[in-house]
Amino acid sequence: MKAVRWYGKGDVRVEDVPEPKIVNPRDAIVRVTSTAICGSDLHLYGGYVPTMMKGDILGHEFMGEVVEVGAAITTLKVGDRVVVPFPIACGRCWFCEQQLFSACDNSNPNAWVLEAMYGYSGAGIFGYSHMYGGYAGGQAEYVRVPFADVGPFKVPSTLSDEQVLFLTDIFPTGYMAAENCDIKPGDTVAVWGCGPVGLFAIKSAQLLGAGRVIALDRFPERMRLAREWGAETVDYSDVDDAFDNLKEMTGGRGPDCCIDAVGMEAHGRTLDAWYDRFKQAARLELDRAHALRQALHSCRKGGTVSIPGVYGGFIDKVPFGAAFGKGLTLKMGQTHVHKYLPQLLERIEKGDVDPTKIITHRGTLDDAPRFYEIFRNKQDECVKCVLTTG
C-alpha cells in the first residue's frame, strides 16, 4: 500500500509498504478515505520532535472504512464508516474512566521513555514518534487502529469526509482550548495563531458564549478566515506592540482568556523571539515560546491562559512571575478527543460549524511531499491540506 513516510528534516516520501495486520483482539483495520496534514506534523517535518525513525508512517488525522476487526470487537463491523481520534485510549484505565483519554495509561508501548522525560507517560498517538508509541500513522491507504472499541466513531453517510475529518483532532483541540478558558458570557478571548486549531478555537469560543474574540496572526488569508468566523484580527507584524494593542482593545483590562494556538515554533519580531530562534537552532532549547510569553503577559489579572499549541521540552524566559503575580489559571495538554467528538459531530450535523471552510488544498497521498513543503512555508495561502486515497 501507499504510505507517507518520514525520512528526516524536510524529507517525507510516498512509498510502497506492507499493509497492516490485526495484532491484538481489540484491533481494527481501517481503509483510509481521507487524511489531513496537521500543524503538529510540521513539528515532525521540521525535526523538532525526538525519537522519530526513518521510514515512520506519518498522520494522525484520518478516517475511512472498517475492513477488518479483531476477535474482541463487537461495536464495529466491516463496512462501517468511521473517524478515528488521534490519541489511542484503552477505555478502561482510571484516566479513561475520567474521560482523560489522551492521558491513557495503557496505550503507549514505549511509556518508559516519556516517563523518564515527564514523570508519567500520556497515551500513544498515531504516527507521532516512538516516544508516543511508534504507531504507524494514517497518511496511508490502510491503518491499524488499536482499542477499536473505544477510538473509532461511526459517522452518518449524510455528511461528507471533509465535513467530519477534523473531528479526529483540530476541531476538538480548538474546542477543548476554548472550554479550558471557562468562558463566561461576554468574555473577551484572545487567540494567538489563526492556523486550523486557532480557527476552531475562535469558532468554539463563540459557541461557548464569548462576547468578543480577538485573533493575532500575520498571514492575510488566515486573518480573513478568522474574521469570517467572527473574530476581530490584529496583524502582529503591523502593530508596534501586541500587548498595548490588546490592552487598548479591552478598555485597559486585558483579555479575560488567552489561547496559545501556536506552540513550539512561534515566530515573532521581538528580541525574545530571536533569542529562541538562536537557541533552538543551536539545539539548546527545544521550543520557541514567543506566543506563550505574550499570552501570559497580555492576559488580564485572574484570567486564564489555555495552551493547545504543542510544547515538547524545556522553555526559557517564561514570565512565570507574571502568571503568579496576576493569579492566572493555566490549562493545556493533548486533546481528549473521544470526550468531545460526539457533541461536536452533533454541532456539524446541526450546521453550527462548517469545518470545510478552512480547507485550502486538496490532493492525493502522492501530493504529500509537496503539501508538507507549502504548508510549512505558508506558500500559496495554505491553511489546511486534505489528502484522499482515491
Binding site: 495484532v23 495503557n106 496505550s107
Partner: protein
C-alpha cells in the same frame, strides 16, 4: 535499583566466584589488547585497567570487592536460603492497577500465566501445589532453568517464593497485592533477589547493554497492568 548487599569481608580467600573470574580474564584481555593498539595515554590507561582485570580473574582476589566488603565466591552457606545474605541483586518495583486485589492475585497465582507478561520468562510449568518449573531467557541466547517453591502465601495479599537447590539462577522474591488509597485500585509490588550467573559485575555489564533488571521488572509490571486493565498488551508491528 541494583544494590549489592555486604557480607563480612574475607581477606585471605578468593572473593570472586569462578564464572566471574573467567569473565574477568576474558574481558581484561580484550580491554588490554584494545588499549595497547591505541598507542596513546588513554590507551595505556585502558591496557593497565585490562591487566588489572586479568590479575583479578587469575587470583580470584578483587581489591574493589574487598574494600566494599563484597564476596561473590561460593562460601558454603546454609541450604535454607536461595540467595545468601550479601550476595546477588535486589530489585523492588511497584505499579498501581485499576482492578481489585482478588482478580490480580488469582491471575498471578496461576503461574502458567506469567510468561504472558514477563518478557524474559519463556515458560512456567506447575508441578504441584507449591512447586513449579521455570525456563527463562538467559544471556547470549541460552536458557536458564530452575524449580521454585512457594514459601509464603496469603490469598489475595502476597505470594513469596524461592528457587530450590541446584538452580541455575538462585532467586527469591515476593509479590504483594495491597488495596490502594482512595479506591485507586491495587498496588502490586514485586521484591526480587537473584544471584546472576556472572555475579554483580556481570549484571552491571548487562545493565550497560540495556539489560537492567530493575527496568525489566518495571516493564513486566507495566505489561501486567496493561493486560489486567485493557485486556491486551499494546504492541506495534515491526
Amino acid at each position: 535499583m541494583i544494590e549489592a548487599t555486604t557480607p563480612p569481608p574475607s581477606a585471605a580467600n578468593p572473593n570472586v566466584s569462578n564464572p566471574e573470574r573467567w569473565l574477568s580474564v576474558v574481558a581484561g584481555t580484550a580491554v588490554a589488547a584494545y588499549g595497547l593498539t591505541r598507542r596513546s595515554v588513554s590507551g595505556l590507561v585502558l591496557a593497565a585497567l585490562g591487566g588489572g582485570l586479568v590479575l583479578r580473574g587469575a587470583t580470584g582476589q578483587c581489591p574493589v570487592y574487598n574494600s566494599l566488603g563484597i564476596s561473590t565466591a561460593t562460601d558454603g552457606e546454609g541450604d535454607q536460603v536461595s540467595v545468601p545474605y550479601g550476595r546477588g541483586i535486589r530489585v523492588e518495583k511497584s505499579v498501581t492497577i485499576n482492578a481489585p486485589p482478588e482478580q490480580l492475585y488469582t491471575f498471578w497465582r496461576n503461574f502458567e500465566n506469567l510468561p504472558r507478561f514477563m518478557d524474559h520468562v519463556k515458560s512456567v510449568s506447575v508441578l504441584d501445589d507449591k512447586r513449579s518449573h521455570w525456563v527463562a531467557k538467559g544471556p547470549a541466547g541460552s536458557d536458564a532453568e530452575w524449580d521454585a517453591e512457594i514459601i509464603n502465601e496469603i490469598p489475595n495479599e502476597l505470594i513469596g517464593w524461592r528457587s530450590v537447590n541446584g538452580s541455575q539462577v538462585d532467586n527469591a522474591g515476593s509479590v504483594h497485592f495491597t488495596p490502594s488509597i482512595g479506591g485507586r485500585g491495587t498496588v502490586v509490588k514485586v521484591v526480587l533477589r537473584y544471584d546472576p550467573p556472572a555475579g554483580v559485575v556481570g549484571a552491571t555489564i548487562a545493565k550497560l547493554f540495556g539489560q537492567d533488571p530493575a527496568h525489566q521488572v518495571m516493564e513486566d509490571l507495566r505489561t501486567f497492568k496493561q493486560l489486567m486493565e485493557a485486556g491486551e498488551i499494546p504492541r506495534v508491528m515491526v
